[in-house]
C-alpha cells in the first residue's frame, strides 16, 4: 500500500510535466492526457482501499485486504500520501487527513522504531505537509512556517529519535524505543544510509524551530562517516557506531548506502552548503573510479576496490536523478538507459540483477514497486524532455497495472 503511494508520486510528476512537451510525445503516439487519468485512478484505487480496509494501521496488505503496523503505529500511509494528494490537487482530502493525523497520531508509545524510516517517512512527511499546508489553502497559525500543529508533531517525533545519537562516535543506532530510548541490548551495527540520512529533515526542523540540536546531530553523524571513509575514498555498507569499525565492507551506490549520497547532494542544495557538496564530489570521484563499468555501478571492496558483486540493485536507480541534479546529465542518461533495459526485460526492476548473466539473482527477483527509476525519469525529463523518458512512464503504468494490481490495491511482485 504505502509502497504504491511513494511510487506514484514521481509518476504523477512525470505526467504532470508532460503538458508543455506533449507535441514531442504525440509524435511517438503517446496519449499523455489519458495516461495522466490512469495514474490518478491507480492512486485512488490504492488510497481508497487503504482507508477502507487498513486505516488506522500503517499499511494496507493488498492481498488479504487488511492493515498492519509496519514501522510503528502512525497511520504511515496517510503521512506518506499527503504530498501526493496535493500533487493530485485534492486539497479537501489533504485538509481532512491533516486533521485526522493531528487527532490520531501519538508518539508516546512503547514501540521499537527504525530511526531511519521514522525520520524519512514520519518527520519528513509531516514537515513537507507542514510547509505545503499554506499552499494547500489550509489556515495556518500566526507564526507559520515557524509554528504549526504539524511542525510540532514532527518535532515531537524527531525528539524521540535523539537518544539514538548518544554514541561515542555521534553515529546513531538503527533502532530506538519511542518511549524508553535505546534498548539496553540494542545492536550497534547500523547501515550507512541509516547514519547519513538525516540532514535534510533535521536541518529543516532546526531552521524552523530554532533549536540547533537536530542539525548538529545530523552533521556530526555525517562528519563521522566522512572521517571513516577508506583510503581510496569509499564507504562500506554497515558500521559499528560504538567502535567505528566497518562490519560490511561492500561499497556501492545501492541498498544500505543509497540515501547517504542522496542527502549529501540534497542537503548541499537545501543549505547551499559547500562542505557537503565537496564531500559528495569526492565520493563521486571514487565511485566513478572504482565501481563504474560501462555506465553500470557495481559493488566493490571498500579498501581494495576489487569488484565483489557485479549486480544492479533496483534501489540504485535513484542515481541518474541525482546526477542530473548536479548537471551530469549525459552520464545520467546513459546509466538510466542501462536501467531501462532491465525494466524492458522484466516489466519492473528486480531487487538484484546480475549484469554479466543478464538475469535476476535467485531469491531477489521481487519488485516491491519501488519508485526510484521513475523518479530518475522525472528528473531527467525535466532536464532533457527526451520522449524516451515518457515511454518509461507509459511502460511503468502498463506493467504495474497489468502485473501488480489486485482487488484491494497494488501488491509486490
Amino acid at each position: 500500500g504505502a509502497a504504491v503511494q511513494r511510487f506514484l508520486g514521481p509518476l504523477l510528476c512525470l505526467w504532470a510535466l508532460c503538458l508543455p512537451a506533449s507535441s514531442g510525445a504525440a509524435a511517438r503516439g503517446l496519449d499523455v492526457a489519458s495516461y495522466r487519468e490512469r495514474v490518478r485512478a491507480m492512486f485512488y484505487h490504492a488510497y481508497e482501499h487503504y482507508l477502507e480496509s487498513a486505516f488506522p494501521y500503517d499499511e494496507l496488505r493488498p492481498l488479504t485486504c487488511d492493515g498492519q503496523d509496519t514501522w510503528g503505529s502512525f497511520s504511515l500511509t496517510l503521512i506518506d500520501a499527503l504530498d501526493t494528494l496535493l500533487i493530485l490537487g485534492n486539497v479537501s482530502e489533504f485538509q481532512r487527513v491533516v486533521s485526522v493525523l493531528q487527532e490520531g497520531v501519538d508518539f508516546d508509545i512503547d514501540v521499537n522504531a527504525s530511526v531511519f524510516e521514522t525520520n524519512i517517512r514520519v518527520v519528513g512527511g509531516l514537515l513537507s505537509a507542514h510547509l505545503l499546508s499554506r499552499k494547500a489553502g489550509l489556515e495556518v497559525e500566526a507564526g507559520w512556517p515557524c509554528s504549526g500543529p504539524l511542525l510540532r508533531m514532527a518535532e515531537e517525533a524527531a525528539r524521540k529519535l535523539l537518544p539514538a545519537f548518544q554514541t561515542p562516535t555521534g553515529m546513531p543506532y538503527g533502532t530506538v524505543n519511542l518511549l524508553h530510548g535505546v534498548n539496553p541490548g540494542e545492536t550497534p551495527v547500523t547501515c550507512t544510509a541509516g547514519i547519513g540520512t538525516f540532514i535534510v529533515e533535521f536541518a529543516t526542523l532546526s531552521h524552523l524551530t530554532g533549536d540547533p540540536v537536530f542539525e548538529d546531530v545530523a552533521r556530526k553523524a555525517l562528519k563521522a562517516l566522512w572521517k571513516n571513509r577508506s583510503d581510496i575514498g569509499l564507504v562500506g555498507n554497515h558500521i559499528d557506531v560504538i567502535t567505528a569499525k566497518w562490519v560490511a565492507q561492500d561499497a556501492g551506490i545501492g541498498a544500505g548506502v543509497d540515501s547517504y549520497f542522496e542527502y549529501l547532494v540534497k542537503g548541499a542544495i537545501l543549505l547551499q552548503d559547500k562542505e557537503l557538496m565537496s564531500m559528495f564530489l569526492e565520493y563521486n570521484k571514487a565511485i566513478k573510479n572504482y565501481t563504474k563499468f560501462d555506465d553500470w555501478y557495481l559493488w566493490v571492496q571498500m579498501y581494495k576496490g576489487t569488484v565483489s558483486m557485479p549486480v544492479f540493485q533496483s534501489l540504485e536507480a535513484y542515481w541518474p536523478g541525482l546526477q542530473s541534479l548536479i548537471g551530469d546529465v549525459d552520464n545520467a542518461m546513459r546509466t538510466f538507459l542501462n536501467y531501462y533495459t532491465v525494466w524492458k526485460q522484466f516489466g519492473g526492476l528486480p531487487e538484484f540483477y546480475n549484469i554479466p548473466q543478464g538475469y535476476t539473482v535467485d531469491k531477489r527477483e521481487g519488485y516491491p514497486l519501488r519508485p526510484e527509476l521513475i523518479e530518475s525519469a522525472m528528473y531527467l525529463y525535466r532536464a532533457t524532455r527526451d520522449p524516451t523518458l515518457l515511454e518509461l512512464g507509459r511502460d511503468a503504468v502498463e506493467s504495474i497495472e497489468k502485473i501488480s494490481k489486485v482487488d484491494c490495491g497494488f501488491a509486490t511482485v
Binding site: 514531442g24 542544495i269 541534479l325 538507459l337 531501462y340 524492458k344 526485460q345 511502460d395
Partner: protein, 868 residues
C-alpha cells in the same frame, strides 16, 4: 530501504488473449512456441511477434502489426507469441532482453530480426523486402533506375538457360536475405539481371558475377578468386565496400552513440523529410540525392574543370617541380584584372617591407579558392579585406629584395584557409608619383612586376593593370559563383549528409530550432560538433535542390555568411507582471542591452538543483530593488543559446550589467555565498562605480536623479518600516494599558472579595448570636410554657378547689340555712358573705395572672419572629 518478507502470495493471473479474435494475427497467448513452429511449415513467409502482455512497447506495436497483417495476411503468416507466461514453451526456450521482438522467416531461412521503427509502414516495407529480397531487372532503363538510387545497389548477373537454376544464384539470393539480417535498415539493395545485353551495360560478361555499384568511386566486381562465393562473404563484401553518400539515421531511443559517432566525423548536414517507405516515388528524396551526387562527384569535376582540380592540388610537391607550367596556368585562369576586391595599403614604418616599398595593393584572390554564392555575399566583404591585411602583415618576410622601381607581387595563402589567396603588389612611390598615379591610371601597366608564389620568389615579369576603383571591374559571376559539383573534395569543411524521417524524429529538428508551427515537416541543418555551432536552413525557403545547394555552398566558403543558429525556447511567454523576468534568446538583447536599467541576470537550468534554491532570493531581491531602474532576470541556458561571449560553463552564474556600461558586465564571485545581503552589496558596489568615472553634467544629473530615486525608494521603505514600528508601539501601549486595567480590575475584585468575606464573617457571627438568642428564647419559652402549664394546673387546682369550695359553700350554706332556719340564720349569713368576698378576690387575682402569662407568650412570639 530494507524489504520485509511477505507471507502472503498469490499466483500470477492466467494469460488472456492480446489480439482480438477477429484479428488476422494468430495469437498464441499461452506461449505455444511448438505450435507456432508447426504453423510455419505451411507458409513461405512468416512473421513472429514475441510480446509480453505488460509491455507498453508491445501494446503500442500491436496496432501497427495488425495494420500490416490486414494488408499482407494473404501472403504472410502473422503469429503473435506471449513469451512472458511462465508456463509457456516460449518463456522456457527463449530469453529476450526486451519486448516486442519481431522475427521473420523466408521459408527455412531465418530468423531475420526486425529492428527498425515500430511503425506499420516500416514493418510492411521490411516484410516486403523479406518476401522479395532480389529485384528482377529486366531492361536497360530499369537497370539505370536501379543504379541511380542513392542507396548502394548490388547486381548479380545470372543466365537462366536450360538448367533450372544457374550455379550461384541461390547463394546470391541467400546473401540478399542475409544482408537484411545485418543491415536492418535495408540500405543495400539487391538486383538480378538475366539478360546478357543488359549485363553488358555494367560490363558483366560471365554469368554468376556480382557487381557493386558506386557513384563516386569505381564500381566493384565481386572477387571470386580471392573470396569464397558464399552468402556471408558477398554480404560482408558489399557492406564493407558500399559507399554511403547519404545515410538514414534512425536512433532507436535506447542507449546508443549513433548520433555522437556520426557527428564526430565532421560537420553534418541533417535533412528532415517526411518519408513513407512504401511509396514508389520520392521526388524530394530524388532531388536531395542529385545534390548529394553532385557534391561528391570529384572525379568528373577533374575532367570538366581541370584548373579547379589543379588548384586543389597546388599544395602538392608536383607544383614545385613544374613551376613554369603552373605559372602558365595561373596566368590563364586568374588574370589579376578580375580581382574584384582590393585595397591600397600605405605601409607603416615598422613593417619590414617598408624598407623597400611604401605602398602595396592588396587584392583578395577569390578565384583561387572556393567562392561564396553571389546571392548571399556582397562582392567585397570588409571582413575579407581585414583578414587579408592580417595575413599580409604576418607575411612580411616574403618581400625582402630591394627593387625600388619595379612592382613586386606575391601570392600568399590566407592563414585561415588553404583555398584563399591574397595578392599583394608593392612598390615605392614618392608623393609626386602618387599624384601621378591618381591622374594616370595606365602607369602600372608598364613597370615590371616581380611575382612570387608561396613566399618563393619567381622573378617572372608580368604586367598587371592597376586596380584602384572597384567600379571599373565588373565581377564575373561565372567565376566567382561556386559550383557544387565535386565540392566535397575541394573544401576542408566536407559535409556528411544524413536523412531523418521527420514523421519519427521531428523532435530532433525541433531541438535544432525547427519551428513547431509549421505543418510541412521539412527541415535542414548543418551541425558542426567540433566548432559547437549549427546552422539552419531558413524555414521560409522550401526545401528543394537549389536551396540545399546554396546552403552547402554558403557553409563551404571562407567567411561563411551563415549565422550560428541560436535555439530559443518557444514555450516561454513574456509575462510583464512577473517580478523576475524570464529571458530567452530572442529577448536577450532587448532586455539586457537595450533597456535603460541595471540588469541582474541569473543563468540557470531546469535540472540545476542549486539554481532552484536561489529562486526565493531572486524574488525577494526583485521586490526590493526599484523596478524602474533595475531588472532582475533569469535565463534557462539549456533551452536558450546565447552568443559565445555571454555563455557560461557553470551554473548557477549571476551576471550584472550596469546601466550605461552594459559592455562591462560583472560576474558575481563564485566563492561568495549567494544571499540577499551579498547580492545587494555586489549590485550596489558595481552600480556606484559609475559615479567615480568621469562624467558629463547630464550624466551626473541623471546619476543623481537615479540616486535620488534610490534614496527616496529606500526612504519610503524606511518610512514604511517606521510606520510599522510605530504601529507596533501603539499596539504595545494599548496592550499595556489593557493589562494595567486588567490588573486594577483584579485588585478591585480582590478587595471586593475581602469585604465580602468580612461581611460573610460578621453575618456568620450574627447568625451565631441569633442562634444563641433563639435558643435562649426557646428555652425561655419552654420555661414559660412550663410555668403556664404550672399556672394552668394551679388554676385548675384552684378551679377544682373553687368548685369544691362552692360545693363546700353550698353544702355549708345548705347546712347553715337549715341551722339558721333552726338557730341564728342572720349570723351565718354574715360569715358567708365574708367568705364570698375573699373568694371573689382570689378569683380576680387568678384571672389577672392568666392575662399576664398570655401577654408574655405574645411578646415571646413576636421576638422569635423578629430573630427569624
Amino acid at each position: 530501504s530494507c524489504s520485509r518478507a511477505k507471507d502472503v502470495t498469490m499466483p500470477a493471473k492466467l494469460p488472456v488473449s492480446f489480439f482480438s479474435t477477429r484479428s488476422p494475427v494468430v495469437d498464441l497467448f499461452r506461449g505455444q512456441l511448438d505450435y507456432a513452429e508447426q504453423l510455419r511449415q505451411d507458409s513461405e513467409i512468416a512473421l513472429y511477434f514475441f510480446y509480453a502482455p505488460w509491455c507498453g512497447q508491445s501494446i503500442a506495436a500491436r496496432e501497427e502489426i495488425e495494420r500490416v497483417a490486414s494488408r499482407l495476411s494473404d501472403q504472410v503468416l502473422f503469429v503473435a507469441v506471449n513469451c512472458w507466461w511462465n508456463q509457456g514453451k516460449c518463456r522456457k526456450q527463449k530469453h529476450f532482453f526486451y519486448f516486442p521482438v519481431i522475427h521473420l522467416y523466408h521459408q527455412s531461412f531465418g530468423p531475420i530480426e526486425y529492428k527498425g521503427p515500430m511503425s506499420a509502414v516500416y514493418i510492411e516495407k521490411f516484410v516486403r523486402r523479406v518476401m522479395t529480397p532480389l529485384l528482377y531487372i529486366s531492361s536497360r532503363s530499369k537497370l539505370l533506375d536501379f543504379l541511380s538510387n542513392y542507396e548502394p545497389g548490388v547486381v548479380g548477373f545470372f543466365e537462366f538457360n536450360a538448367s533450372p537454376q544457374p550455379p550461384g544464384y541461390l547463394t546470391f539470393f541467400t546473401s540478399a536475405l542475409h544482408s537484411l539480417k545485418k543491415d536492418y535498415l535495408g540500405t543495400i539493395r539487391f538486383g538480378v539481371v538475366t539478360d546478357k545485353r543488359v549485363a553488358e551495360e555494367i560490363s558483366l560478361v560471365h554469368s554468376g558475377s556480382v557487381y557493386l555499384h558506386r557513384h563516386a568511386n569505381t564500381s566493384l566486381v565481386y572477387p571470386k578468386d580471392i573470396m569464397n562465393f558464399t552468402a556471408e562473404n558477398i554480404c560482408k563484401w558489399a557492406l564493407e565496400n558500399r559507399e554511403m553518400l547519404i545515410r538514414w539515421l534512425r536512433p532507436h531511443g535506447g542507449k546508443s552513440l549513433l548520433l555522437n559517432n556520426e557527428l564526430k566525423k565532421g560537420p553534418a548536414l541533417l535533412i528532415f523529410i517526411p518519408y513513407n517507405p512504401l511509396e514508389e516515388i520520392h521526388p524530394l528524396l530524388d532531388e536531395i540525392t542529385k545534390v548529394a551526387l553532385e557534391y561528391h562527384k570529384c572525379n568528373k569535376s577533374q575532367a570538366a574543370e581541370p584548373e579547379l582540380q589543379h588548384v586543389g592540388d597546388s599544395d602538392s610537391p608536383a607544383f614545385d617541380s613544374s613551376v613554369a607550367d603552373a605559372h602558365l596556368k595561373f596566368s590563364e585562369t586568374f588574370p589579376i584584372a578580375k580581382y574584384p576586391c582590393c585595397n591600397t595599403v600605405v605601409l607603416p614604418q615598422w613593417h619590414s617591407i617598408s624598407r623597400t616599398h611604401n605602398v602595396c595593393e592588396l587584392c583578395v584572390n577569390q578565384t583561387l579558392g572556393v567562392k561564396p554564392n553571389k546571392v548571399h555575399v556582397p562582392h567585397c566583404n570588409f571582413l575579407e579585406i581585414e583578414a587579408a591585411l592580417d595575413s599580409f602583415y604576418l607575411q612580411e618576410h616574403t618581400f625582402f629584395q630591394v627593387i625600388s622601381n619595379t612592382i613586386e607581387c606575391s601570392n600568399f595563402l590566407s592563414f585561415y584557409s588553404p583555398f584563399s589567396y591574397y595578392t599583394a603588389c608593392c612598390r615605392t612611390v614618392n608623393r609626386h608619383f602618387l599624384s601621378f598615379i591618381s591622374s594616370e591610371k595606365t602607369i602600372f601597366q608598364t613597370p615590371k612586376v616581380a611575382f612570387s608564389s608561396h613566399g618563393k620568389k619567381d622573378n617572372i615579369q608580368f604586367s598587371i593593370p592597376h586596380i584602384e576603383d572597384r567600379n571599373c571591374f565588373i565581377p564575373d559571376l561565372n567565376i566567382s559563383s561556386l559550383n557544387i559539383t565535386g565540392l566535397s573534395c575541394r573544401t576542408n569543411k566536407t559535409l556528411n549528409l544524413y536523412l531523418l524521417d521527420s514523421n519519427l524524429f521531428w523532435i530532433y529538428a525541433e531541438r535544432l530550432g525547427a519551428s513547431r508551427s509549421t505543418h510541412l515537416k521539412e527541415f535542414a541543418a548543418i551541425v558542426d560538433l567540433k566548432e559547437e555551432v549549427h546552422y539552419v536552413l531558413d524555414q521560409n525557403q522550401s526545401l528543394v535542390g537549389p536551396t540545399l545547394e546554396n546552403f552547402i555552398k554558403n557553409f563551404s566558403v571562407l567567411y561563411s555568411p551563415l549565422k550560428r543558429h541560436l535555439v530559443d525556447d518557444p514555450s516561454v511567454h513574456f509575462h510583464e507582471e512577473r517580478v523576475v523576468t524570464e529571458v530567452t534568446t530572442n529577448t536577450f538583447h532587448e532586455t539586457v542591452f537595450l533597456s535603460a536599467k541595471n540588469v541582474l541576470l541569473l543563468y540557470y537550468a531546469q535540472w540545476c538543483g542549486f539554481c532552484a534554491s536561489l529562486n526565493h532570493i531572486f524574488i525577494q531581491l526583485a521586490r526590493l530593488l526599484p523596478p524602474n531602474s533595475f531588472t532582475v532576470a533569469r535565463i534557462d541556458v539549456t533551452r536558450n543559446d546565447l552568443p559565445w561571449e555571454f555563455m557560461t560553463d557553470r551554473l548557477p552564474t549571476i551576471l550584472f550589467f550596469p546601466h550605461q556600461r552594459k559592455d562591462q558586465s560583472v560576474k558575481f564571485p563564485e566563492d561568495f555565498s549567494v544571499n540577499l545581503p551579498n547580492l545587494l552589496k555586489f549590485i550596489l558596489h558595481h552600480t556606484s562605480l559609475s559615479s567615480s568615472e568621469p562624467c558629463t553634467k547630464e550624466c551626473l544629473h541623471k546619476e543623481s536623479v537615479l540616486q535620488q530615486g534610490h534614496i527616496s525608494h529606500l526612504e519610503r521603505e524606511i518610512q514604511k518600516l517606521r510606520s510599522e514600528i510605530s504601529a507596533l508601539h501603539q499596539a504595545h501601549d494599548q496592550l499595556e494599558a489593557q493589562l494595567s486595567e486588567a490588573r486594577r480590575e483584579e485588585q478591585r475584585l480582590q478587595q471586593q472579595k475581602h469585604t465580602l468575606e468580612k461581611q460573610h464573617k460578621t453575618l456568620q457571627l450574627h447568625s451565631d448570636q441569633l442562634q444563641a438568642t433563639y435558643d435562649q428564647k426557646n428555652q425561655e419559652l419552654l420555661e414559660m410554657a412550663e410555668k403556664l402549664q404550672e399556672l394552668a394546673d394551679a388554676s385548675e387546682n384552684l378551679l377544682k378547689e373553687n368548685a369544691l369550695l362552692r360545693i363546700l359553700v353550698a353544702s355549708r350554706g345548705g347546712k347553715l340555712q337549715s341551722k339558721d332556719e333552726i338557730k341564728e340564720p342572720l349570723q351565718s349569713e354574715q360569715t358567708l358573705s365574708e367568705d364570698d368576698i375573699s373568694l371573689s378576690t382570689a378569683t380576680a387575682a387568678l384571672e389577672e395572672k392568666r392575662i399576664d402569662s398570655i401577654d408574655a407568650i405574645e411578646t415571646d412570639h413576636s421576638s422569635g419572629n423578629r430573630t427569624e
